[in-house]
């Protein structure tokens, strides 16, 4: 353990001295994304939208391909395509003869496959598929960081603005609507926020792992949070810790950074399950 810590310390020193400030940038960007992903992720967990979020994230690659094709900003392109993906999904859920579960399964994977196929067909372009699928946090620029924090601040501001109707709608959309809140409007704004987070977080953890950064910190926070608001704050903090641990692990063992962050988050979640006396465990026993 001590040798490991010494090793990590050595790594930090090494990187700080010799390798520019890329680690610092990665940490800053990762922490920024985690701070937004935590609170948003809570709603995804409460509303059981994990698969829905996955489907939106998978449509991001299509967004990348189309933005490159039409020469628009990739973040913007991904945001637009993810939004359209979500709207299409809602429309299909209302009409399709399939269960919502099966529909999400079909759309989630066909969106991803379509994205990969289109990227492959554009032979005249060189798109680093792996970077988009698994993230490339060590390559973030200062511009990326500005985008993460400016976008993140905007997303959080919107989330706070719709907090009450969104939370009430999560508890019961009929109840919220009957008492004059507008849960439907809040839900649509929430979906736009999800699309925005996906667009921003894609570069950090990659399309395939975005949902985990949304869900795992929130799930880990559940055990320690007495209120929905506390759970959102704790999820943000746990996400930041996961980013730090994951990045140092990635540097120490030379593992891919995005997946390392997710593994770190998963480990925190497992630890949270082992914590004795948490309210969730007590509740389970009651039932």
């Amino acid at each position: 353990m001590i040798t490991l810590l010494a090793h990590i310390q050595k790594q930090i020193k090494k990187s700080l001295h010799t390798m520019d400030d890329f680690l610092f940038r990665a940490l800053l960007a990762g922490a920024g994304v985690a701070l937004i992903a935590g609170p948003l992720g809570c709603f995804i967990v409460w509303r059981r939208m994990a698969y829905f979020g996955d489907t939106m994230a998978h449509s991001a690659l299509l967004g990348v391909a189309l933005s490159v094709l039409f020469d628009v900003n990739i973040t913007l392109g991904v945001f637009v395509v993810a939004t359209f993906g979500a709207l299409a999904l809602i429309m299909m859920q209302r009409r399709a003869p399939l269960s919502s579960d099966a529909l999400l399964g079909i759309l989630s994977h066909s969106m991803l496959a379509l994205g990969i196929v289109i990227v492959a067909m554009m032979t005249w372009l060189r798109i680093d598929l792996m970077a988009f699928l698994f993230g490339d946090i060590l390559a973030v620029s200062w511009t990326d960081i500005v985008v993460v924090y400016a976008g993140g601040a905007l997303i959080l501001a919107f989330l706070i603005f719709i907090w009450r109707p969104l939370l009430a709608g999560t508890v019961s959309s009929e109840l919220a609507a009957a008492e004059g809140l507008h849960p439907e409007r809040a839900r649509i704004i929430f979906m736009l926020l999800m699309a925005a987070v996906i667009a921003i977080a894609m570069k950090i953890v990659g399309i395939l792992l975005i949902t985990s950064l949304l869900i795992i910190p929130a799930a880990a926070a559940r055990r320690f949070a007495p209120t929905p608001e506390m759970m959102a704050v704790l999820a943000a903090i746990i996400g930041v810790i996961a980013v730090c641990v994951g990045l140092f692990g990635s540097l120490t063992w030379d593992t891919p950074s995005g997946p390392s962050i997710v593994v770190a988050a998963a480990m925190i979640f497992l630890l949270s399950l082992l914590t004795p006396g948490s309210s969730a465990l007590k509740m389970r026993r009651d039932m």
Binding site: R164, L175, A178, E179, R222, P226, T227, P228, M230, A280
Partner: protein, 279 residues
């Protein structure tokens, strides 16, 4: 005395009224031609068998679903407190009783505790709501609906998951709330037995308004007996047969004695005699 009070209530403008209300799903009318009024201080109970459109009526009145016919009138800025039929809260959401009280609006701890005290669950203020029993949760829903001082309280099957004794206590509580706050109450129930004592007006629904009026007049009406069976009617009142229409097996209706106010009746679920339901 009772009559005097009743006229006093109904002489005021209704908080909420519907005329000729209809809601259709694809080709079928879920409810049709429903007339309903709720005044301040009045308890109106909607009864009817499963699938008779009680919840549909309530949801249309609240504006949760679009109505396809008729008109709904509300007083300006009507404050509504709602207890929905089904409310399950995912255990992933950490929610204590006090926090649940402010889910649709901000309230001070003092008023939260007063509202919890009024329904008798103040001792549970710090509990997780997922740990409450069925009866405790229904009381919490009531307290939450009342905390915004609503002019109209809408309760969709408020005694679900509550044992018989708890049911009586809950209905008494609803009566108390009405007297104390002078709000109008629209209540949905599948069971007229216990509602009786507190209800002013009963509207018996089966896709349309089968009969309505005071609990006694409804209990004695042939339409009510037809819907709920002889045993249900006998438990309430002496039954005199004055049936004005008959339901044929194909769902159509024929007039028996010239009254024409039920000419549009179709009772798809009760058009055949089911001996088991008549005990």
């Amino acid at each position: 005395m009772k009559i005097a009070k009743q006229t006093e209530i109904t002489s005021r403008a209704p908080l909420l009224s519907a005329r000729g209300l209809g809601v259709r799903a694809s080709s079928r009318w879920l409810i049709e031609n429903v007339d309903l009024k709720v005044h301040r201080g009045e308890i109106v109970t909607l009864i009817g068998p499963n699938g008779s459109g009680k919840s549909t009526t309530v949801r249309a009145l609240l504006g949760l679903i679009k109505s396809d016919a008729g008109e709904i009138t509300r007083t300006n800025d009507l404050r509504v407190g709602y207890v929905p039929q089904k409310l399950t809260i995912d255990w992933t959401m950490p929610l204590k009783v006090r926090r649940f009280m402010t889910i649709t609006g901000r309230h001070s701890v003092t008023s939260i505790d007063a509202a919890l005290d009024e329904v008798g669950i103040l001792v549970l203020a710090k509990n997780d709501i997922q740990s409450l029993s069925g009866g405790e949760f229904q009381r919490l829903l009531l307290a939450r609906a009342m905390i915004g001082q609503p002019q109209l309280l809408v309760l969709d099957e408020p005694v679900q998951g509550v044992d018989a004794q708890g049911e009586i206590a809950l209905y008494e509580l609803i009566g108390d709330l009405r007297r104390r706050h002078d709000c109008g109450i629209l209540l949905v129930s599948h069971d007229l037995h216990i509602v009786m004592a507190e209800t002013d007006t009963v509207v018996c629904l089966n896709g349309h308004v089968c009969c309505s009026g005071s609990p006694r007049s409804v209990a004695e009406s042939p339409e009510y007996r037809d819907l709920f069976g002889a045993r249900a009617a006998e438990a309430l009142a002496v039954y005199h047969h004055h049936h004005d229409h008959k339901h044929l097996p194909d769902g159509s209706v024929v007039q028996a004695n010239g009254h024409d106010d039920h000419s549009a009746c179709t009772h798809p679920e009760t058009n055949k005699k089911k001996p088991s339901h008549h005990g």
